[in-house]
Amino acid sequence: MGCVCRLAGDAYKGEGLAFLISFDIDGTLEFGDPPGGITVEMVRRAQQLGFLIGSCSDRFPSAQRALWEAREIKVDFVAAKHMLPDIRSRFDATKYLHIGDRELDQQLAQQAGFEFFWDHEGVAEPWLAWLETHAD
């Protein structure tokens, strides 16, 4: 099964609640360099539960797509790390989250109006609690 990534310009307009998670790669995801604690399985689980998922990283966009394709995950977006504002404007979500391992990740997330978790906080998959909170 190939990976189809939504191209830039394909704005997502979901019905009901939508939660978006952006992952930094290096230092955050298990296939990053250095490897981080967020596993591919965690990402796949989030996607299966309906989260919009993708990466905002210093890896160039074509390389990010290749990394996700190699793991057979269809991401909703890839972008350079500083393009979080663009991601926010392209996707109409209830909550936006960026997960990273650097102060810069935190700073860029906050500037773009994203919530932020450190990579070591992300391994507990705190976003799953949002589903319970918004269940009603």
């Binding site: 500083h82 102060e103 810069l104 700073q107």
Partner: protein
């Protein structure tokens, strides 16, 4: 030890928390003068040449007898970068911020650095005239030279 000062020049309403430089025997005259709101630089009499940062001798002729001389404190903005990813912890909260090179009136090849307080980020008027003032740094209060616009002439439009 200079008492710590709380006033720090603002940039876009945010304070740029520079590290406080620690003077040594070589550069103490420079930093002492900064605390007195004076800009002094080393001058090689043999080469008739100012230099900065301070060194033990003139790098051109090897003259160890460098004199400290006060300069006018006027210059022009020669170039600029906008720092988006600073290595310095105290400045990370303030990024992005401008850093400009200032070419001195007395010695156009001598460049000093500036955050150009009051100039919007990435709106630096290249070629504009500036003059020095002295800013306290938060950790020790040691003053350092900073530069403010005198006129907004911009013979080269920043891209």
């Amino acid at each position: 030890m200079i008492p710590a000062h709380s006033s720090i020049t603002s940039l876009r309403g945010a304070q740029l928390r520079k590290q406080s430089p620690v003077p040594n025997d070589l550069d103490r005259p420079f930093y002492d003068a900064c605390n007195e709101d004076r800009l002094v630089l080393q001058h090689c009499g043999a080469c008739n040449r100012f230099q900065f940062p301070p060194r033990a001798m003139c790098p051109r002729c090897g003259n160890p007898g460098l004199a400290w001389k006060q300069v006018t404190g006027r210059g022009r903005i020669q170039s600029r970068v906008v720092v988006y990813d600073s290595p310095v912890s105290t400045l990370i909260p303030d990024q992005p911020f401008n850093v400009a090179t200032i070419s001195l009136e007395e010695e156009p090849e001598l460049t000093m650095l500036s955050h150009l307080p009051g100039v919007p980020v990435d709106k630096v008027p290249i070629g504009a005239t500036v003059e020095v003032f002295f800013e306290s740094t938060p950790a020790t209060g040691q003053k350092v030279p900073e530069w403010k616009l005198v006129s907004h002439e911009a013979p080269q439009t920043p891209r």
